[in-house]
């Protein structure tokens, strides 16, 4: 016994120190890289210049708008469907589960290849139909709705899992029936009885979607749009320091978001699940 525990301890220390080094050094180096300008000493120019740089606000704004639209559509599609699966259509459950897992099987780059093929076909086959106008409208460069559609699909697996976990902790049937007996209509029962009970799951789903959209690069770049992640890569050639500075900031932002998420929703499973 004594020999066993003795043999493990130094190993564990080595593993933890090595892990700490591997995960902290790149973060520390990035910060040093951005503030330690060769020949000028330490200054924070890279950070102060960000806001005045061309394209920063517009690309970040576009990303945030896309994220907001994606979250709203994802929740509008998924919440009623998931609640309905619990109440009236349990037999559809495997169908929805498979549909929501399918985007995991198609890597983003393969998906965007499919999307761009459809967009290219449009002018060829649909030019005389009203669909053509729709196709043009969703590619509007100021707000490319086609990106929102792609992001909604890509977020489905995460939203499904988050909502499923949240609904498992709530007795939806009892809640809805209680609300209905008190005279509430279906939408009122949903909004005032069910939704408040799954606030954690809704937040969870929203944060995951937000993180996904803010960091998304593949689809946007290949379809030729310029939200935040694409913008960082575009400026990296001319302003290496600033692109790292923006990366550090966006990492901090993601950390903050996901830490909020971890404290807001992460506590609950540990309490309900043994």
């Amino acid at each position: 016994m004594a020999r066993l525990t003795h043999r493990i301890r130094p190993g564990r220390g080595t593993v933890l120190v090595a892990a700490a080094l591997y995960f902290l050094v790149p973060l520390a180096s990035s910060v040093i890289f951005t503030v330690d300008v060769p020949g000028q000493g330490i200054n924070f120019d890279a950070y102060t210049r960000i806001f005045s740089t061309d394209g920063f606000l517009s690309s970040l704004g576009l990303s945030l708008e896309l994220a907001a639209a994606t979250i709203v559509i994802d929740l509008l599609l998924m919440v009623p469907a998931m609640v309905a699966l619990r109440l009236g259509a349990p037999r559809l459950r495997p169908v929805v589960e498979v549909v929501c897992s399918l985007p995991l099987v198609v890597p983003p780059i393969a998906f965007v290849v499919g999307v761009s093929t459809v967009l290219k076909w449009g002018p060829e086959y649909l030019s005389r139909t009203p669909f053509f106008q729709t196709l043009v409208a969703i590619q509007n460069p100021t707000f490319p709705f086609v990106l929102v559609m792609a992001y909604v699909v890509m977020a489905l697996p995460f939203v499904y899992r988050a909502l499923d976990a949240g609904l498992r902790a709530v007795d939806v049937r009892t809640l809805v029936e209680a609300a209905r007996s008190c005279g509430a209509s279906w939408p009122v029962a949903l909004v005032r009885a069910v939704l408040p009970n799954m606030r954690g799951a809704l937040l969870n789903a929203s944060f995951l979607t937000l993180a996904l959209v803010l960091g998304e690069f593949t689809v946007a770049q290949l379809l030729g749009y310029r939200p935040f992640a694409v913008w960082i890569v575009n400026i990296s050639g001319a302003q290496a320091q600033m692109s790292v500075a923006v990366s550090v900031l966006s990492l901090l932002m993601t950390w903050l978001l996901l830490l909020v998420l971890a404290t807001a929703a992460g506590r609950r499973p540990s309490r309900t699940a043994p």
Binding site: V15, L16, P26, L92, L102, L104, A110, V113, S181, G215
Partner: protein
Amino acid sequence: MTLTSTPANAPTRAGAATAASTRRRGAAGWLPVVPLLAFTAIAFGIPVVALLNGAFTVKDPATGATSYTTANLDASLHGAYLTALIGSVKLSAVCAAIGTVCGLLLAQAVVTSRFRALREAVLTASGVLANFGGVPLAFAFVATLGNSGVLTQHLHLRDKGWDLYSFWGLTVVYLYFLIPMMVLTITPALDGLRSQWREAAQNNGATHAQYWRHVALPVLAPSLLGGYVLLFGSAFAAYATADAIVGSSIPLVTLQIADALSGNVLVGQEHVALALSLDMVLVAGLVMAVYLPLQRRSARWLA
């Protein structure tokens, strides 16, 4: 469920409401699912069908007529495209193997630690870092280990043969999100290892190594293999990180698809891009086909 089973003068209002809702449920319970299915059919179904269709068609440049063929798939499995496919598989396999081992070691170190706070901190950090892929990760590593990176400069790594823009450079970068992913995947399984099993093995005279070889690893095997394919899949699909770091200096299938799609290499290679994408879907489908049953199996030990 029949309507006549509810008497006209129901004993209580609640009873009537329940019966009414039951009736309504039977009729339209699936209605809220329709928008979801319709949306996925349009936003996901159409592109996937286009992908399948395009992967199997060629367009005659002279007449403009299209015909069905397997020539694109054939082309995607030859020459530079095959090299890229193999390059991606090799990189993903190596990254996933290292990630699995390192993730297991780290998770084991944390799980057996006496400090509860350490465990919480590592798991929270893993949650964040597993989602930290893409562009910011690439630039953090360029700043650290790139040609003018902080570590490269201070430790003179270039003289020692270090190159971030290489196979092993990319491996080091990918591990940054793969190891946390493995820690998250394997920790529940490690928690599921009963201390009684270890005690029983020790009472029977097993050494530490024998306990791991004959008890712990067989129990962990489904979770480990499941974790491995999950890491493989996410390394295989990664594009943003690779693109931001290496451009197309390493043959990777995602980079090839992007090149072929934007016509960087040869005009008229779009259909090969579609075929390559189909290859990727097949590999990813295989990964999921292995992963999902394994995940269900390993869940049995955690109950």
